[in-house]
Assembly symmetry: C2
Homo-oligomer: 355 residues x 2
């Protein structure tokens, strides 16, 4: 039997996570490039508990060790194994100009500058609501992406549960939509947005506090051309954010945007999301751009389950948490889902760890 | 009723195609940017028969006309309509450096140069097999994309029915896979590849003629880590290329790459493909990068159904046919499909037109 299969089996036992041979291979390939655990998570595109379990098993089997700077390094036995299996160091050809997004944030540099200026006193990400802000370059690229797909100008747009990124603010600031409604559970963000809307005279934009676990009232359903969201990756949260986002769409041809990460959910979970989108909800996926969304490491990182289960205590040095940018299109017969959601496993399950 | 809904209904009747309000909106937005029909198809991301039916209906309703240079232009009535509805010109923020792919072809410039040099006498795309070559920049970017996802080095790779793009040749030329098998129905391409493999001493690569309508023999099934393909967009061809590609994968964690276009199939069809991938075939979709693959307009364009049904006779001026680049990952329990396929509607159906 291939030794990676055995290592994957052991990691499944140790971490109670879904990993397979390829997951172990990706961790080894990442370890040939960096000894930093958070960079390894980033390069291997695995949930933190999965990457952590694999590293622990590599150490247990004498294939890796942690040096006194908390770098994870392969032992001679580990090096022999990667050589024998032909595993090579991770390589990255992401475009330096657009940071791999395909759409450079500086394509509208005035807009980028205004967004930076307006948001310099933005509220900090807090743990209560699984917040984590993307970089301003990400937020601006999101808006330009929407514009280049015909989903911005003179559209009625709802941004739901993603305002830690100030995406709704950026959408409104572009001054291109017909109307913008921002809803979020965090009153700090709603107040911040509304103050800026007033200050800049953006009369077509408003923000209001809403807990997405609750169903929308009828007057919110079927009213928008485009929704934007950034859900936690549990199945209940996916329904609450994306199912409810789809329910706000006015008609077929309506469009949804959201981030989904492989850092808090596995490719196994992704398949479930995708099957649900294309069969139950009746939408088509038109774009999945990996590593589009770069997240600034949240201040509360040391308190997260991720930090707790990591094989090292050293904090992340730079950006390590990224998500893919999805665009979906609602087709005739699409489903408007709007049930209540219980609190259980809303933010956290066996694959998630960054809450 | 919104006038676009009525126009969409009429286009459905005229063209016997699946279009909706949004499709009409996209054509109008494109017409504000260009009068060239093929550029309008490109910008509106619609199948040729759909874009053509919409343009014909716009003309019929006095909203557009064809001028004596064969440019499609909006009439005053058409301009009034777009103003009333708030439709604005198509915008494009694609990165100039990587051509919007996220991976720039020049990231390995020596490889790009060698590929250009080696392929300068490549066989031309012919109509018999629905061929159309992508640009060399596209082919090289495909290989770099695979490398950056850990799907190239020391992998056993099969490239099936995509050799008009010389993707298999490029994969072998990278000298990074363990083995490369190229199969294609076109003997000219197979001979071209094998001659170069011999000339360059690429002993781990070989090419052979195969008609993908036929099932693979058992010795081809479950033998590869990665497959690459570029199927025609009919449902039978999708099964023959992608279903059979998945069947060649050795194990869970195996990876597939292929192009899928919205020029020969609608977003409605895409949803069917995606539902089939994630439910029936048991794979997850990890990437969909729109407009990754740029196709050089084929010499036989004037003989295609696309040219026949277009509202103008003028030929395309530049690149207008693009496809998205898909990456999929086979999960535990994935299905190996390997049935025989009949000749009916293999290359062409109501949405396809470029064969």
């Amino acid at each position: 039997m291939n030794p990676l299969v055995k290592l994957a089996e052991r990691a499944r036992e140790v971490g109670q996570v879904r990993v397979y041979k390829k997951s172990v291979e990706r961790v080894l390939s990442a370890l040939l490039k960096s000894g930093d655990f958070w960079e390894v998570v980033d390069m291997s595109d695995l949930p933190v508990p999965a990457a952590s379990a694999i590293v622990k098993v590599l150490i247990e089997e004498g294939l890796a060790f942690i040096d006194d700077t908390e770098d994870i390094r392969l032992t001679q036995k580990g090096m022999d194994l990667v050589r024998e299996l032909g595993i090579e160091p991770y390589v990255d050809y992401a475009c330096g100009a657009c940071e791999g997004r395909g759409i450079p944030f500086y394509a509208d540099i005035e807009f980028y500058r205004e967004f930076l200026q307006i948001t310099k006193d933005r509220p900090k990400a807090i743990r209560d609501y699984d917040q984590g802000s993307v970089t301003p370059e990400t937020t601006v690229a999101r808006v330009l992406f929407m514009d280049s797909r015909g989903d911005l100008r003179n559209k009625d747009i709802i941004v739901l549960g993603a305002e830690d990124d100030l995406t709704g603010l950026a959408v409104a600031l572009s001054r291109k939509p017909r109307s913008v409604l921002v809803i979020d559970i965090d009153k700090r963000l709603i107040d911040f947005d509304n103050a800026i809307f007033r200050e800049l005279g953006l009369d077509n934009a408003r923000a209001m506090v809403w807990d997405l676990r609750n169903p929308f009232p009828p007057e919110m359903l079927g009213k928008f051309d485009v929704f934007v969201s950034d859900p936690p990756e549990t199945l209940p949260a996916f329904r609450a954010f994306i199912g409810r986002g789809i329910a706000t769409l006015r008609e077929e041809g309506g469009v949804g945007y959201f981030g989904l990460t492989l850092r808090d959910s596995s490719v196994f979970r992704w398949r479930e999301f995708q099957a649900s989108l294309t069969t139950e909800f009746g939408v088509a996926i038109t774009d999945i751009v990996q590593d589009f969304n770069d997240y600034i490491t949240w201040d509360y990182h040391p308190e997260t389950r991720a930090a707790e289960i990591a094989p090292v205590k050293r904090n992340p040095k730079g950006i390590w948490y990224r998500s893919a940018w999805y665009r979906i299109e609602a087709l005739p017969g699409f489903k408007r889902w709007n049930e209540a959601i219980s609190d259980d496993v809303f933010y956290l399950d066996e694959e998630g760890s960054t809450t």
